[in-house]
């Protein structure tokens, strides 16, 4: 049995860190940027790390990807454990509560940044792996679903993604990390796009053709020259990650999701 207390403890630490400490790769690239606001962005990275203040005031919603082995026993439904961890971190830290209880009729703030979003992936074994994204609203609004024709070519897919980013990337706090989900169903493609964002910057697709496609899309997105803060200087995207799934003969769903320049994420692993 993996205790809820143990999961909560490890997650609290990982979620706090994701909000206040930039990935070293991002810091390294930020040091190379010399366009508008470059000095305040560097000052911010250092200050957040030292003070525990968040890097961005939009401390987001928490989206979890839970890979649970069939031999893993839990004390309570995993979503309750995840909600407790997020509630603890957000009420104890100088983070913002950004969740409203009802999306349309009564947008009342829940006051603890819960509930979280949780996707379950059943696997074999005694391991419990929890990945998460701290997802801001600005980049989330750029998410798109394209139901392409099943006979669509690679060029058409690339064009669809790149044109979408040409229109929207400047609103998502670039440089962006781009996640693309191809296949499955409409909803599966979107989840895959998000799952792709949980990969590290240098984690390429295992299939060499998809890895090459990731590279090609990254190159074309960077050719847009949207740059840091959308102001034309520096790179437009850090990386592109593709996840795929078998699909129906009549469809080709393509989900597009992106992270802003601080690409907040984490991963914790437990053995039962």
């Amino acid at each position: 049995m993996i205790s809820a207390k143990r999961i909560i403890g490890n997650l609290e630490e990982a979620i706090s860190k994701a909000n206040s400490e930039m990935d070293p790769k991002i810091v390294e690239l930020l040091d190379l940027y010399d366009g508008p606001f470059s000095s305040v962005l560097r000052e911010n990275a250092a200050m957040a790390k030292d003070s525990g203040l968040p890097i961005c005031q939009d401390t987001g919603f928490l989206e979890f990807f839970v890979f649970q082995g069939n031999e893993v026993a839990l004390e309570e439904p995993i979503i309750e454990t995840l909600n407790s961890a997020v509630k603890n971190v957000y009420t104890d830290s100088p983070f913002r509560y950004s969740i409203v209880s009802d999306p349309l009729l009564n947008r009342k703030n829940t006051g603890d940044n819960t509930p979280v979003i949780c996707h379950l992936f059943p696997i074999r074994g005694d391991e419990l792996e929890i990945r998460f994204l701290v997802k801001g609203g600005g980049s989330e609004n750029l998410s798109r679903l394209f139901m392409l024709n099943p006979s669509a070519t690679v060029d058409e897919l690339v064009h669809t993604v790149v044109e979408s980013l040409r229109e929207s990337a400047a609103r998502g706090c670039p440089p962006l990390k781009v996640g693309i989900g191809i296949g499955g169903s409409s909803d599966k493609a979107m989840v895959l796009a998000k799952l792709a964002l949980t990969r590290s910057f240098d984690e390429k697709h295992l299939d060499k053709d998809y890895a090459a496609l990731e590279e090609r899309i990254l190159r074309e997105v960077n050719d847009l020259k949207i740059g840091y803060q959308g102001l034309g200087t520096g790179i437009t995207a850090y990386s592109v990650h593709i996840e795929t799934y078998p699909t129906h003969i009549a469809i080709m769903p393509v989900g597009l999701a992106m992270d802003c320049y601080i690409a907040r994420k984490g991963r914790v692993i437990f053995e039962d």
Binding site: N44, S51, Y97
Partner: protein, 164 residues
Amino acid sequence: MRIEELRVGDELSYSGEFLIMRDAAQKRLKEMIEEGKKLPVSLDGAIIFYAGPAKPTEDSFGAIGPTTSNRMDLFLEMLFMKGVLATVGKGKRSKQAVSLCKEYGRVYFLAPSGAAAALAGRISDMTTLAFDDLGTEAIFKVQVKDFPLYVAIDSLGNDVFISE
């Protein structure tokens, strides 16, 4: 600072006042205007900062930074009609927003996005003016010091995001 002298690409260090409001507060103001009610705040001469502050700490008024302005383009003319001088946010705005800036002779500034800890240190005072029930989406008045701004749309209707 004279608003009409600013040009796209100008970088400023601003010390003064902002009124903070975002989606929910502006939606409510619009409903109040439509119902003929008196607004709880005066917008005349104000610079509106599209933001939602995080929680204050012992040392600061809390992490703060711009949110995406484009979502609030539909309220921009309402703000200008009430005397707002400029808006501050992040990202590209609609063509309508650009023409409104030109028509009313107003300016749109970018503030650095994803720089919330650094910007927290540039807030010297913050008070809640209205709509307390909206939490981070309430209307706040803040005093800022050496706050970095970048002119993205000027009063002639030039837009930094339209380069081609």
